[in-house]
Symmetry: C2
Subunit: 326 residues, 2 copies
């Protein structure tokens, strides 16, 4: 049994917990939190909730820590901080800072002879893996990534920070026409506005200035100003009834040529997810298995999904895979 | 430069040749054939065509042989036959005999301290890799593979063997309704007939018994009897004008659940290819690069696509990939 620890118990931590519970070859040993451990109730019976400050006491009791903190402030510190003592997985998704995070985690993991895999999830993660395969096969081509229809937590939070907003849910929606143009092979140059639109469902406080809220959303730099954005005001009841899920999805499409542009090809990978954190948690769980196996064979240091062979992710044996999946 | 040899110069061999020509880090050293070398004209200038009997003379001049023979009789002999002297890639696709072929190639490659990767292509190959990732992420689920719309060489050949048939082209066509049912997540049990239909375009000899040919096709065991099959007789001119390409494609779809079936997810990987052999040749070329790199690091023996990390397939450096593809 691979002994798993989860650090951070929000939506993603619960997603990992569910995936570990479903795996035959894994057991959850402890969940670490920065909150008061007494205030955290797990879904798995009999597993202790421990203060993050005490994580190093579990050095010999846990094979892999799945670090479920946030990318903005938590993961850049905690993943390198624990990688010397534990094999560790995280879902670091601040694309621009990946090289720096990789270097920090690599140094720490090598120092402790441990294996870390960073930026695991679906983007970065499965979408990245697919971009790699697609680029390897069709070097003469162009790839495009579309996200949604799905809930963006960051954009929903940005709306909630506007005065007069009680709650909000924002959906990122890919634009069909753009996807069709990409699939046709024309390799279009697409602006931000042409690729995605944003749908906002907002619960306003009684007496709030609706027009002002709508204007503040639509003109918000980085988040909404570059998109066609719709704002719909709804009641808290409707928000809870119709927008309680955390669905997401998207696709990576690459079109390219072979034989001096004589022939054209299209490769597409797409996801449609009822629960973004549960799906992401399932990916983290599979890569935790891979980290454990890489560490066993002495392949230490920081890795990404590019460095992990698919066979390392599955419970099934290589013989089974060759006979049934090849 | 990775020095490549191609063994077998049919459609697939030409597809590999085009892919090697497009790669910045590879050069084609020789093409080996069982035909009279004088009768073979390559697309690449200055590359010798050599009798297959002399392949071992190239032992120190070639880094990887891409073996483009047929799965029925050629690859089971030639891949293990050369794996002791060369790193080698093949596209062996007789699913039931993969474990046996793997064992033979593994023994030979280990004896010579070489690296072999078998069953490379898109199915087996990219479809297999995707089945592996999908199963790793969603262990509680079901996957489905659909092929086409595309030309099946084997089925076209089977029609051509019927007396009175001059030429023929067979298209395998996936049935939309079945794909929609799979995508919906219902995990249907589908018969052979419900998944694909077969379209045949046949050129008959003058005076041939058309009705008998049609009946022989539609009742042919294994090839057509289990499918809804349409037979259309056309002229040789029309065959050459409208059916000269070798397009193919298909998709792998897995639907599954997380968190005790509370949430459902769909993963889909699809291909739409103008030229099946050129796309397959491009995949073989990328895995030849991986075989070269695995051999350099002393990772010998037989591998499949399951054992190869994506990073090994690309010309680009790991640093570039982390900065631009992750």
């Amino acid at each position: 049994m691979i002994r798993i620890g989860i650090s951070g118990y929000g939506n993603l931590g619960r997603g990992v917990e569910a995936a570990v519970a479903a795996a035959q070859d894994m057991q959850l040993v402890a969940v670490f939190t920065r909150r008061d451990p007494e205030s955290v109730n797990l879904c798995t019976a009999g597993v202790p909730v421990v203060s993050f400050d005490k994580i190093k006491e579990y050095k010999d009791k846990i094979d892999v820590i799945v670090n479920c903190g946030g990318s903005a402030t938590d993961l850049p510190l905690t993943t390198p901080g624990i990688a010397e003592d534990f094999n560790v997985i995280d879902s670091f998704d601040t694309h621009a800072r990946i090289p720096e995070h990789f270097a920090n985690v690599d140094a720490s993991a090598l120092k402790g002879s441990k294996t870390a895999i960073i930026s695991v999830g679906w983007d970065p993660g499965m979408f990245s893996v697919n971009r790699a395969y697609m680029n390897a096969i069709l070097p003469d081509g162009a790839d495009y990534t579309f996200w949604g229809r799905g809930v963006s937590q960051g954009h929903s939070d940005a709306i909630r920070r506007i005065p007069g907003v009680v709650d909000a849910r924002q959906y990122t929606v890919p634009i069909d026409e753009a996807m069709q143009r990409v699939r046709s092979g024309e390799q279009p140059v697409l602006s931000t506005r042409e690729k995605h639109r944003r749908e906002c469902y907002v619960v306003a406080a009684p007496g709030a200035d609706i027009a002002s809220i709508e204007n503040q959303i639509k003109t918000m730099p980085n988040y909404f100003a570059d998109y066609d954005t719709t704002v719909t005001f709804i009641s808290m009841e409707e928000l809870k009834e119709k927008h309680c899920g955390i669905p997401h999805g998207g696709c990576v499409i690459r079109t390219g040529y072979t034989n001096g542009r004589k022939n054209a090809h299209t490769i597409e990978y797409s996801l449609k997810l009822d629960s973004n954190p549960e799906f992401t948690g399932s990916i983290l769980c599979a890569y935790a298995r891979a980290a454990y196996r890489l560490a066993l064979r002495g392949d230490f240091g920081c890795k990404t999904v590019f460095d992990v062979a698919p066979a390392l992710l599955l419970e099934q044996s290589p013989e089974y895979m060759r006979a049934h999946m090849l």
